[in-house]
Symmetry: C2
Subunit: 144 residues, 2 copies
DNA sequence: GTCCATGCAAACGATTTGCATGCGT
DNA sequence: ACGCATGCAAATCGTTTGCATGGAC
């Protein structure tokens, strides 16, 4: 069994409490999505002096090493523990991000790509089910 | 036949020279990718006083109306005329973006999505063919 | 002991906002 | 003529950089 600390070391990085804590947080919430600020807010609890810059650096390193995944939406980088391709659905209304699975064996994503692939993200902008329901409800109210 | 100006009008927007020029530029270079700054540089030729802010506003409106597509990479918004889903391959080395086609009927992308889809982008980070070749060549040179 | 990581402050760059003027309808 | 669009300046926000101190190996 490979610990998070081993993973960090195996990628040529030194193990520090900050790095362990950040990787653990993202990995243990694999279906969730975090901005750098979200991660900073979490690490600050145990580590009151850690500046945002350090969190930004650590996150970027983890992405470069493939330890976590990231994509950008609404002008911000979003980090997640799920590294295999899936759909990140971004709701224009509530700004939440939801994961959905892709169909099939995923090879269709990279079949025509000429070059070396590091990571693949599918981002869908739209209106989520919750917001659709609420918008529908408020339209009915207005129509009364 | 629907002109670009008609398309703008049909989406509830007023037609102005700035808007026509921007939409035409992006649509006539459908396989290319533009940052807001790229677009601004082009419009400024005919329109020396147009501020970046106006270009940003126009681009964002076009995306919201589905007239063009956009995605974000390396901290910047990128605009393109191709609105149907395809692969945007971003080379970490040369920073160029290349289009590749997706396989099949594309329904696999949104099959599991619960909500209303506005747009779908597939972004692949990697190293492009050109850079792979150059990197390989320079490794051989070093090994001599 | 050496080198890399952290902590901190300041800078940066892409984008947004507010407001007066101008133009499309 | 009305209302939205443009032009302009300033502000905002996420992120990056430079440098001194501290901790991992």
């Amino acid at each position: 069994m490979v610990s998070l600390e081993d993973e960090i070391k195996q990628n040529g990085l030194k193990v520090t409490p900050q790095r362990s804590k950040i990787l653990r947080y993202i990995r243990e919430n694999s279906g969730k999505h975090f901005s750098a600020e979200d991660v900073h807010k979490h690490v600050v609890i145990d580590n009151p002096n850690i500046p945002p810059a350090t969190v930004y650096n650590i996150l970027k390193m983890f992405v470069d090493r493939g330890l976590i995944n990231s994509f950008e939406i609404n002008g911000k980088a979003i980090y997640e523990g799920r590294v295999e391709p899936h759909v990140n659905f971004s709701c224009e209304n509530c700004k939440n991000i939801y994961d959905f699975d892709l169909e099939g064996d995923l090879s269709y994503l990279e079949k025509n790509v000429d070059g070396k692939v590091i990571s693949t993200s599918v981002t869908v902008r739209g209106i989520c089910r919750n917001c659709l329901n609420e918008l529908e409800a408020s339209e009915k109210t207005l129509a009364r």
